[in-house]
Every structure is written in C-alpha cells, then in structure tokens.
C-alpha cells in the first residue's frame, strides 16, 4: 500500500518535449516510474524518450490508459493544462509549475469541484512513493523505503526532512509536496488524512510555513481523528509580517498565520512540534519508538 501513486500508476507528462519536461521525465523513468507517454499540442505522433507523444490529454488517456499526469507547462498555460487533464478523467494531477495567476487557480478550483480528479500543487515538488513511483522533481535516491509519510509545502525542506529521517534509520512511504501557492489542489489536512488511512504509514511528518490556515485545519483534524504520531515544523518563525518569503503563499497576513500561532495550535492538538528544522528526523524516530515500545 501507499497513497496516491505506486508502481502501477500510468503516468503521462504534460509539456513532455520542453526542457523541464524532458529532463524530469527522464529522471522519473530512471527512478522506475511507469511513464507511458506525454502530451505536447502539435507534436502528436512523434516519439520522445522512447514514448509516444500525443496532441491532447484525452488521446493519451484513450491510448495508454494513463491515470496520473504531471504538468511542466509555463504559468500562462498551466491552469488550462490542469483542466484538460481533469476533463480527460486523469485521477491524480501533479502540477509543478510556479507562478500561475491566482485568478486562474480560482477557476481551476471551481472546475475541479465536480470532477473525480485530485490536484497536487501547483508550485510543488510532486509526490513520491519510495521505490515505486516518482511523480515530481525531487532527488529520488534520498527516499529510502520505510514507514514515515511526509506532507510539505516546500521542496528542499522536504528533502532535508527526508534525509534526516533516513539517517535516523527510518524510511518513507509516500512524500506529498502540496505546494506553496495561496490556492492549491490538495490541502495539508487532506494529505495528512490520506497518510493516516494508509496502513503502511506509521508516523507522519507535517511541514508547513507562514501564511494561510491549512496547518491549523490539519491540526484540528488530527486531534479529532489522528491515530499515528505526527511531527510538525513551521518554517518562517523569523519572517517579518507583510513580506512574501519566496512562495506566493508565504506571507504573514494577521495574527493567526504566523509560525508561532500555528505551532501553538499544533501543539494543543497533540502534534510534536520542533523549533529547529535540524530536529525533524530525531523527533519522528523518538515518536515512533514510543509507539512501538
């Protein structure tokens, strides 16, 4: 078991023949991901990385039976690409693209409401199920298989947490990079819920950052329904209010979305919150040891 993606996932790449798409598609293939083809409008019929290129997502799905798509198209066309994938019935859509206008994402969110697709991202590193499928841009080799699930808004900070976890003698089931934009397809709470329901996952690392209320929502859900230990970290304890810290969504707007406020509510909900990002790996190892004792 694992969540969202596994070795049987049939993956297509939107923006397949572009620089980013080509590079990361080949890395995904090298990892062992079952990439069955890609989409670049106007290049249908060609072959790229030994796989077929299609003009539309619908063609790709009809021909290959793809159920997962990863999107590497530029920001101006990314919202359209997400909706195209959803309209073709793709189950899991991972959008890596950073810089999509908010207005476009409001429309995407509305469009996805009555579709069966789950969107991950945008502005995210993707999802990886260790040793099975990498649908993203993360360095695959650091993800050793194990029993810890990861939910994170950030890329390199996820790698950091995973690396510490592996060095602490543990491993990863699935890591979900949900993205750092103000509007994203899958929230922290939804991702935590998926991992909580996964029998292989025994502990969860939840990495958030300043801005928005998703961590608080997830914390309240964990308090109510949690069955596994959760270690949390919030980046941006030292970020000044009103300034955007890289990610479009990482901005302190009021008293509730500061790191301190989020850490407080997470603690109140029973999450082991670490102050220092250097302690994430040790903390999850300790929490898991407690459960197993």
């Amino acid at each position: 078991m694992s969540v969202l993606v596994n070795k049987d996932s049939k993956v297509i790449v939107q923006g397949f023949t572009g620089t980013e798409g080509s590079f990361h598609a080949s890395q995904m293939i090298e990892y062992g991901t079952n990439v069955v083809g890609g989409v670049t409008p106007g290049k249908g019929g060609q072959t790229h990385l030994d796989r077929p290129v299609f003009n539309t997502v619908q063609d790709a799905v009809d021909t290959t039976g793809a159920n997962v798509s990863i999107i590497f198209v530029p920001p101006a066309f990314a919202a359209d690409a997400i909706m195209e994938a959803a309209s073709a019935g793709v189950e899991v859509i991972v959008c890596i693209t950073e810089g999509i206008p908010t207005k476009d994402m409001i429309q995407v969110k509305e469009y996805l409401k009555d579709k069966d697709s789950r969107l991950i991202g945008p502005n995210c590193p993707g999802i990886i199920t260790a040793d099975e499928a990498k649908i993203g841009i993360m360095p695959g080799f650091i993800f050793k298989k194990g029993n810890v699930g990861v939910v994170s808004k950030s890329g390199t900070l996820t790698y950091e947490a995973v690396d510490q976890t592996v060095k602490a003698g543990l491993g990863i089931t699935t890591a979900i990079g949900i993205g750092g934009d103000p509007i994203i397809g899958t929230t922290t709470k939804e991702a935590v819920e998926l991992l909580m329901n996964d029998p292989e996952t025994e502990g969860i690392i939840m990495i958030g950052e300043i801005g928005g209320g998703m961590e608080a929502e997830a914390a309240r859900w964990i308090k109510e329904h949690g069955t596994k230990p959760v270690v949390g970290f919030i980046a941006g304890q030292t970020a000044p209010p009103g300034r955007r810290m890289g990610h479009a969504g990482a901005i302190v707007g009021g008293a509730d979305d500061t790191a301190a406020a989020k850490m407080k509510i997470m603690r109140e909900c029973g999450i082991r919150v670490v102050e220092s990002p250097a302690e994430i790996g040790a903390a999850i190892a300790e929490e898991l040891a407690k459960v197993q004792a």
Partner: protein
C-alpha cells in the same frame, strides 16, 4: 505588486468606481496648479495634500494635511515633499516622499451627515474564492476593529462561476445602513469595484475609507491596490506602474540577478536553495543565537554565477557579521556547488566575514573535502545541526 494611491485611483476610475478626485504633484508649484484646477473642475475650496508612499498610516505620521487656501497648499506640499515619512507600516527609518496627491475636499457640509465605511476585496485562501470584506467602522485601523469588535466586519463571498450578483451588492449596501440615493450609489460602487478587481487581476483592494458624502454620493477616499505579480504579463501597462524608488535597492538588484531576496535587520546573512529551506535556515540562525539578515533563495541551480551574485548582495549589508550558505543538493551536485562557492570567493577576493558552507545531498562528502582543502577561511558542514553550531561559534 504595490502601486501608489494616485495610480490605484486612476485604475478604479477607469472601471467606473467613483473616487475622491485629485492630481499628483512632484513639487509645490505643481501642487498649487493642481489645487487651482481642482477648484475650477470640482469647486473644491479646500484640498488635501497626501504623501504618496507605499505604506499605510500616512495620516498618523503627518503625511496627510488639509490646506484651506493656495498659500497653505504651497506650504504643506513643501513640508511633505522630500520628508522622511514614518508610519506604523514603514519601520523606524520611514520612507522618502517624492510625490503628493492634491485631492478634492469631499467632507464638505450638506443635507446629510457624512459617513465612513471600510471595504476590501481579497482572496479567502481557505475557500479558494474572492470575498468582499466590509464594515461600518471606516477610517480606522481595520486590524483594531477586527480585534475589538469582530462582529462589525462582514464578508460576502463571490461564486466564481457567476461572479458578483446584484442581490449581494444590495445586501452590502443594506448592511452598511444605507437608504435612498446613497443605497443606490453604494450598489453601483460595489459592483464597479469588484469588476475592477477581476479585470485587473488584483490580489487585494483596500478602500479605507469609503465615504458617503453629505449629498449622498459614495466614493473611494483612499485606494490600496495590490496587483498579482504572476498576472502582470497580461497587464503590461500596469507593470509599468512599478515604482522602484519605493523598494529596497538591494532587493531590486537581487531581482535583476533572478535572486529572491528580502532584506531583514539581523547580523547573519544566508544563501539557500528553495524558499521553505531558506525560511527554515533563517529560523536556525535565530536558534543558534544570531538574527537573520536576509531571506535569499538562489533557486534550483546554485552555480558560481548565482553564488557570486548572492555574496555581492549579502555583503552590501554592513550589519552582516557572518554568512551561512545552506544548499540541499538534490539534482544539483554538492561538489559543483562547492566549486561554485570557491570560485566566487576567489573572484570577489577578501570577504571580511566568516563563511559557513553547509552542503548536503549528492556528493556531500566530496563537497566538504573541496571546501576544506581550498585553503579559504570557510567553515564546512554536512549536517544542519553542525551548521547551526558553527553559527553560534563564529558569533561568539
């Protein structure tokens, strides 16, 4: 992207939102001419001289003044233009005022009492939809209203599939206690305001106050317009409204090198790949006993060029006593980043502060060896904890 009040008002007006009219001026003479024109066009005997800076609370800092005659216009403009305006939002250094908006007096006496409201349009992140937030408590600090009398702030959510509806505009106008001509004018105001928000790809409008004049007109006395940076490619005319003099010069320079840099007040500079890890690195500096001097995300490819640009940006800040480079090498190899650091260091020459380089990920050991054998005064680390300890060590 932030823009000035006068620019925001011009955009609102172009969508049919009634505004307090005004003319922008660079010097007292232009201010006098502007006041004369306002007298002619709007019969405004008094005018308001308003400092144009990208920060709120201008009135509190003495940046907004009433002028009752032409001499006063000249005098007050002279005072305000060139002043270093300190408001609760500018920080203690304040911001230099380069322009003033000479605006019509809209608080003239008349048949009914004037009344001030608050209105903003913004994204409700938890819902993924836009909302109009409004209050009868206009003209004051909305954070204060939210804290003391939260029941006086109301919200109207916009369904993206149908947009703002007439009944919603009417509800807002009724909830603000309006009737008659003012009620009608408020529904028009709300409708035009939302239309402007959508059409301009804005990320926030804040109109505080929205005024009901003594002759029952509704208009925007102030306008904070924030445009979505990610959508500026669709609005090249608005992109030109960017005022670089309002931004930190180092941040502007960093932007030119494609570095995401935010200047802070601390003593330890940092250079990191990825926004989340960059924030986490700032936090670790604090835990190690320092204060972060900046946020700096060098992005995915940390090569000699970006590292050099990063050093140059950080070293512009005289408060920096140490620099922590924290790179998690995933697809980018650590030994290449290390070589980049060494090359950049040698090219810049003498860097007067201690450097701590923490490289983790692909080829981290080789990278550490490269740094250690370079002969440069650079501390190397692989674990994040080690890097934190080194920060503590070099600061003591």
């Amino acid at each position: 992207m932030n823009i000035h009040e006068y620019q925001g008002k011009a955009i609102l007006k172009s969508f049919g939102v009634r505004i307090q009219e005004g003319i922008v001026a660079d010097n007292p003479e232009q201010a006098v001419e502007a006041a004369k024109k306002l007298k002619q066009d709007y019969n405004s005997d008094w005018v308001v001289v308003k400092a144009q800076i990208h920060a709120g609370g201008r009135g509190k800092g003495g940046g907004v003044k009433l002028a009752k005659n032409i001499d006063e216009v000249r005098e007050k403009s002279k005072e305000i233009i060139g002043m270093q305006l300190v408001t609760p939002q500018t920080g203690p250094a304040g911001k230099k005022v380069n322009k003033v908006l000479i605006a019509q007096d809209v608080y003239y006496p008349g048949a009914s009492e004037t009344k001030e409201f608050y209105m903003s349009v913004l994204l409700d992140r938890s819902r993924g939809r836009n909302i109009i937030m409004y209050s009868t408590e206009g003209g004051m600090d909305i954070e204060e209203v939210a804290e003391k009398t939260p029941h006086l702030i109301q919200k109207e959510e916009i369904d993206p599939s149908i947009g703002l509806q007439g009944f919603q505009a009417r509800k807002i106008a009724f909830n603000l206690g309006l009737s008659g001509a003012a009620f009608k004018d408020m529904t028009k105001f709300v409708t035009a305001l939302y239309k402007a928000y959508e059409a301009t790809d804005s990320s926030q409008f804040e109109i505080n106050p929205v005024l009901k004049t003594s002759d029952d007109k509704i208009l925007a006395v102030d306008a904070k317009v924030n445009l979505d940076d990610n959508a500026l490619y669709r609005h090249l005319d608005y992109a030109e409204l960017r005022d670089l003099s309002e931004e930190d010069p180092t941040e502007v320079e960093a932007g030119r090198s494609n570095l995401n840099y935010v200047k802070l007040d601390g003593n330890v500079g940092c250079m990191v790949n990825g926004a989340g890890l960059a924030m986490a690195t700032m936090d670790i500096i604090k835990i190690a006993g320092g204060e972060p001097a900046n946020f700096l995300d060098v992005g995915g490819t940390a090569n000699a060029e970006t590292v050099k640009a990063g050093f140059n940006i950080i070293l512009k800040d005289p408060n920096v006593k140490a620099i922590l480079i924290n790179i998690f090498g995933g697809i980018v190899r650590c030994d290449r980043v290390a070589q980049g650091v060494i090359d950049a260091y040698q090219e810049i020459g003498n860097i007067p502060v201690p450097i701590i380089v923490r490289l983790q990920g692909t080829n981290a050991e080789e990278a550490k060896k490269l740094i250690d054998e370079s002969g440069l005064e650079v501390f190397s680390a692989i674990q994040l904890k080690e890097a934190a300890d080194l920060v503590t060590k070099v600061l003591s």
